[in-house]
């Protein structure tokens, strides 16, 4: 599989040997990176499953409760409650670096799920259905904040793992073998030239000896 066309010179051989050494070092480093990423990923996976599943469940529940509230109390009532709500869910976002992968870290400033009396609208003016819908959505947003962090992290890690894996394999099965092949080719060619030289010298020597005799 000698794809690399090389000049059989000693300089080229030295250069190639250096490149092989470097490629091998890069390969082992990338391999370690891949293993490290997979380890990170495995740790997160269990949690991600739980959190994402939980969010899907909460979404279904919240939508059901909202539909019920809208059907029984009317759209206008629900909208007026929506107008009354003041406090937006706020959070602080940081960036974290896991082996070159930038992932978000979300910190909640205040709790999103509130007690009924803490909400801005009057409890007496609304029905229990609306209260329940609001609570369900508060829980949903709470879950969404969690999911946002963990899902993005997982996604990024996966992409990075795939990239690193591809690089490791390319080095292992393509780049390093072809360079080694070229290296062998040069070494053989040089030896061959050496032998040719020796024979030539011997021939010359015997010719000279004949002439002198």
């Amino acid at each position: 599989m000698s794809v690399v066309k090389v000049q059989p010179t000693r300089m080229e051989l030295i250069k190639l040997r250096r490149r092989i050494k470097m490629a091998k070092r890069g390969h082992s480093l990338l391999k370690m990176k891949r293993d490290g990423l997979i380890m990170e990923f495995r740790e997160l996976l269990e949690e991600a499953k739980k959190v994402i599943g939980g969010m899907a469940e909460k979404y279904e529940k919240a939508m059901q409760k909202l539909a019920l509230a809208m059907a029984v109390d009317g759209v206008v009532a629900v909208k007026s409650i929506a107008m009354a709500r003041q406090c937006e869910p706020k959070f602080v976002m940081h960036k974290k670096n896991i082996m070159g992968v930038v992932v978000p870290v979300i910190k909640r400033e205040e709790k999103i799920v509130r007690c009924v009396v803490e909400r801005e609208y009057g409890v007496l003016g609304t029905t229990a259905r609306i209260d329940e819908a609001v609570e369900a959505f508060e829980q949903l947003v709470d879950a969404i904040l969690e999911v946002a962090e963990i899902e993005t992290t997982i996604r990024r890690l996966i992409e990075e793992i795939e990239k690193t894996k591809r690089r490791v394999n390319a080095l292992e099965y393509r780049v390093i073998p072809s360079m080694e092949e070229a290296c062998k080719f040069i070494a053989f060619k040089l030896e061959e030239m050496d032998r040719e030289n020796i024979i030539r010298l011997k021939k010359l020597k015997s010719k000279k000896a004949k002439q002198e005799a």
Partner: protein
């Protein structure tokens, strides 16, 4: 301090209005949807964008790639098991085994 934004049809967004989220984009057609997403991407006070998975699918490929690459804002797709399936497929492709479940 970052905020949450919601993009979707009015039926979808009303629930999030109940929590007090003010950055709500009501969209009724695909064009508005794309404009809303562009607007959200250009703002720097939004940390998380909640969007329906079906709506996310409708976006042009270039925009989706940009969404994937950005850390801020982070897009969260809700509704259906579509996003889970997508993630699962990605894991299967990258690791070689289906680790999900």
């Amino acid at each position: 301090m970052k905020k949450v934004a919601v993009i979707g049809d009015p039926d979808f967004t009303i629930g999030f209005r109940l929590v007090g989220i003010r950055d709500v984009y009501d969209v009724t057609n695909d064009e508005e949807l794309v404009n809303a997403v562009r607007d959200v991407l250009s703002r720097d006070d939004i940390g998380i964008v909640v969007i329906r998975y079906d709506d996310l699918k409708k976006l042009p490929v270039m925009l989706r790639r940009e969404i994937d690459e950005r850390v801020e804002p982070t897009f969260v797709a809700v509704g259906g098991m579509g996003s889970v399936e997508e993630l699962r497929e990605k894991i299967r492709k990258a690791i070689g085994v289906d680790l999900w479940k």
